[in-house]
């Protein structure tokens, strides 16, 4: 079923309403309700198998809802960075060529996007030869090329070590400052949360949501994650005008 559209001047980019996804007999998502506003950062956390990637796939339209709706603003441009991308060894493709898919782009635009995520030196290399960190940044650069209203990162730091992951988040935050797109990221690592984000706590249904401090205080959070401390990364302070409900924070939540 095609996702129903929101009008172009809707206040939200995406409205997820009573979303259920069932595959075979197992219910992956149940009654999910939330919205994504322009310019906001959302982090979806939850244990493995909680349905995080399922939620992302429902939003990009890969999985049709069994019940409920995913409504997107008319003309919404989504930049999607998948959890991992396996490039078959039988398919030769350079970073340069990949960046122009499916919409061909000028060489300058490609160079600029790659420079934004600091992989412009990889332009002529084969996609299959890149390290997982480089591939991740190429995927982000490709997602940025379409000037997205919404950037979706699915476990983007999986496979990166801690310093690399921190650098990656700083880059994402810098990009957010520059182009002010909404960002939805999925993470199962609780020490990799951006301080400026709204947290959605997922385990098949939405357990709780709010700022990192708010979420860390809830009973649901402790049921899901026990005593694991929700740490957020010291990042660039968000401009308060856009994130009035998000206090920039540099300390760790108790």
């Amino acid at each position: 079923m095609p996702a129903l559209q929101l009008s172009a001047d809707d206040l939200c980019l995406v409205r997820v309403e009573n979303l259920h996804i069932q595959i075979g007999r197992s219910s992956l998502l149940e009654g999910i309700d939330f919205t994504i506003a322009p310019g906001e950062i959302i982090t979806v956390i939850g244990p493995n198998g909680a349905g995080k990637s399922t939620l992302v796939k429902a939003i990009i339209g890969s999985l049709p809802p069994s019940e409920g709706f995913v409504r997107k603003r008319k003309g919404l441009r989504i930049g999607y960075v998948p959890q991992r991308m396996h490039v078959d060894a039988s398919l030769p493709i350079t970073v340069m060529r990949f960046m122009g898919l499916p919409i061909s782009q000028s060489k300058d635009a490609i160079k600029r996007a790659l420079a934004q995520t600091r992989v412009d030196d990889c332009m002529h290399r084969q996609l299959s030869e890149l390290s997982s960190g480089q591939l991740q940044r190429v995927l982000v650069a490709r997602a940025l090329l379409v000037e997205p209203d919404l950037l979706i990162l699915d476990e983007a730091t999986a496979g990166l070590d801690q310093p690399a992951a921190s650098r990656f988040f700083l880059q994402i935050e810098a990009i957010h400052q520059q182009i002010n797109c909404a960002i939805m990221m999925v993470s199962h690592e609780l020490n990799m949360i951006m301080a400026t984000s709204r947290i959605l706590c997922l385990k098949h249904h939405l357990c709780c949501q709010g700022t990192p401090e708010e979420v860390a205080r809830t009973h649901e959070y402790h049921t899901l994650f026990g005593d694991t401390v929700l740490q957020y990364l010291p990042g660039i302070a968000a401009s308060p005008a856009q994130f009035d409900h998000h206090e920039p924070g540099n300390d760790c939540a108790a």
Binding site: I60, G61, M85, S90, L91, L101, P102, I103
Partner: protein
């Protein structure tokens, strides 16, 4: 002038050459997708279904090309959309692929008043390509090349990653259907040239030979077309010079090219 040159000017040889070159060219983009998407078994199923298509056409006096396209398409779609409910896709492909051959052969034996040259169905009969065949081959080749040109970025994106394609507004199910249709049409025209058993070889071996020489998908398609055309001309020439079956000779030539590029690449690594 040596006798080989004079033979090459004979009409049926020219027709055979044009038919095999046309198929080599259109098999290039399609074959690359078959290799990239690991659809070899799927291609086999479409090709084997062609056998049943021919026998059904003869049994009910239907146009052969259309019947082959219809049966190939039907089997492929049945596996894609219905197969998952009965068994895993891989098993379903195996069942449908071999059942098509078996039912085709059984049905052919039951048709007492029609004589079917099974050998030419299985291995092709390129020297018997008629002007009508050539016209059909020509239109399918042009049609498919236009299709690939038009759908290229979408086909390529959904081949790389179906979720990336979705996020860009491309429906991967649609691109799969387009490739299935292109495959069924190629099977129908390649049946006469290389035969049902060797169609998939024509789709897979030239791209596999081109892979070590290519840096981008487009380059790989171009090199595949060149190597495929080379194999077609080489195989045809060999079959005329030393009197061997043409279809298998084309595949042998392609295999030789495959060995050369791969061994060369392995030696450099």
């Amino acid at each position: 002038m040596n006798p080989g040159m004079i033979v090459l000017l004979d009409d049926f040889v020219v027709r055979a050459a044009l038919a095999s070159i046309g198929i080599a060219i259109v098999a290039a983009p399609l074959g690359c997708f078959v290799v990239w998407r690991r659809m070899a078994y799927f291609g086999d199923t479409s090709a084997h279904a062609a056998l049943l298509g021919v026998v059904l056409a003869l049994a009910f006096s239907l146009p052969i090309t259309l019947s082959v396209i219809a049966v190939s398409l039907l089997m492929a779609i049945a596996v894609t959309y219905g197969g998952g409910k009965l068994a895993t896709t891989d098993t379903m492909l195996g069942v449908v692929s071999h059942a098509s051959v078996a039912f085709g052969l059984v049905l052919a034996a039951l048709l007492v008043d029609v004589r079917i040259d099974l050998l030419s169905l299985l291995f092709g009969d390129i020297l018997a390509v008629s002007k009508t065949d050539l016209a059909i081959i020509g239109s399918v080749v042009i049609g498919e090349l236009l299709l690939f040109y038009w759908w290229w970025p979408r086909l390529l994106t959904s081949t790389l990653n179906s979720d990336l394609a979705r996020a860009s507004g491309i429906a991967p199910t649609q691109t799969h259907l387009i490739l299935t249709l292109a495959l069924a049409m190629l099977v129908a025209i390649a049946l006469k040239v290389v035969g049902a058993l060797l169609i998939v070889a024509m789709l897979i071996i030239p791209p596999a030979a081109a892979r070590p020489l290519s840096k981008t998908p487009e380059q790989m398609v171009a090199i595949t077309a060149l190597l495929g055309t080379g194999s077609a001309i080489g195989g045809l020439t060999l079959s005329l010079l030393i009197d061997i079956p043409t279809g298998p000779a084309i595949i042998c030539s392609a295999t030789l090219l495959f060995l050369i590029t791969r061994i060369n690449a392995a030696a450099r690594a």
